[in-house]
């Protein structure tokens, strides 16, 4: 898509529109629509309204964290427990934003101009920004990012509407299939994004530790899964490095 990389983006508006357009041409449109079909189906099953689901996508904008939010609230977890689980699942945005901003920021960029691109930062937008931004003029990158992020968010909302109404009208087995989209797509996309051995190990350990914690009915299971499995994986990373 060479036109995505047009170096002559005349104005902020055209940069924004170019970002929007690039989002609809990205392979992530399919991933997002599919993921949010699953998330909306899950939320519908737990009794949340479509308005609430759409608002959660605007405000949280993180598929995995929205699954945590919806399943925790839906299963009757306390607000504090839910907030901790959502917060832990979003810690990953700190390094992602830190890594992305040097690419987005221009010489004239004010810190408050970076708040919206930071809010739009999620796996989809992050990956595509690194691919697309280098060919966008530096002073237009904030607008381009906002277009890209908004486009991805719109795709997600389309998926939510489809998922919400599909699950209400489908036979149970196909509703189950829409719910299954979430773990299936998260597993493979997380494996694809896990570049280091530490991340892969954390994934495998998390898959093992979490069911054990849930089985023994230990509270805050997601938080403990993160801390136990994540720290074990990090420990292996330290041991391997120390031996070299």
């Amino acid at each position: 898509m060479s036109s995505d990389a047009n170096p002559v983006l005349l104005s902020t508006v055209s940069a924004f529109l170019a970002g929007l357009r690039a989002s609809f041409l990205s392979v992530f449109v399919f991933v997002l629509v599919g993921t949010y079909v699953g998330i909306a189906a899950l939320a519908h099953d737990y009794g949340f309204s479509l308005g609430w689901i759409i608002a959660s996508t605007v405000l949280v904008w993180a598929g995995p964290s929205q699954v945590i939010l919806i399943s925790a609230l839906g299963a009757g977890a306390t607000l504090l427990e839910t907030a901790i689980a959502v917060g832990l699942s979003c810690v990953r945005f700190l390094p992602m934003v830190v890594a992305l901003l040097p690419l987005v920021r221009g010489p004239q960029t004010r810190t408050r101009d970076l708040l919206l691109p930071a809010h739009f930062t999620a796996a989809s937008m992050w990956v595509e920004s690194f691919r697309l931004l280098p060919s966008v003029p530096r002073e237009r990158r904030v607008a381009y990012c906002n277009g890209l992020g908004l486009g991805f968010m719109l795709s997600a909302q389309v998926g939510s509407v489809i998922g919400y109404y599909l699950t209400a009208s489908l036979p149970p087995l196909l509703t189950a299939a829409t719910l299954f989209l979430t773990p299936m797509s998260f597993l493979v996309s997380t494996v694809r994004n896990a570049r280091s051995l530490t991340d892969r190990l954390a994934l495998v350990l998390g898959l093992i530790v979490c069911p054990i914690l849930v089985y023994y009915q230990i509270g805050l299971d997601l938080m403990w899964t993160g801390i136990i499995a994540g720290t074990l994986a990090y420990g292996v990373h330290r041991l391997r490095r120390a031996r070299r």
Partner: protein, 114 residues
């Protein structure tokens, strides 16, 4: 019913969804270039974040919500294993993985529940 209808539901959303999520993005902006992407603390943070995600995946498969619970656990596990295998075999394609997992889930679920 979720118990989170109306205005209260949206307040809860801001409190336990928006704030815990965006505090990290805001911190990312404020910290800016002060943190090295390869620093030790971020290696640990990424590992913890990945493990939380793995926990979410495992929880939905093992302790399935809603109508997914109507599909036997053996079928759910077989479907996710086949999906993962397809992902690995077909050039690490997310689409191939998801499509295969879904087909296995629906086909096996259909045969076993008839």
């Amino acid at each position: 019913m979720s118990g989170y209808e109306g205005l209260w539901g949206y307040m809860v959303l801001v409190l336990v969804g928006f704030l815990p999520a965006d505090i990290w993005r805001l911190l990312g902006v404020l910290v800016g270039s002060g943190v090295d992407e390869e620093s030790e603390i971020l290696v640990w943070v990424r590992a913890v974040a990945t493990a939380v995600l793995a926990g979410v995946i495992a929880k939905i498969v093992f302790f399935a919500p809603g109508s997914l619970a109507g599909v036997p656990l053996s079928v759910r596990l077989a479907a996710i294993a086949c999906g993962f295998l397809a992902f690995v075999l077909v050039r690490r394609s997310v689409f191939a993985g998801v499509a295969t997992g879904e087909v296995v889930l629906v086909a096996a679920g259909f045969l076993l529940t008839q």
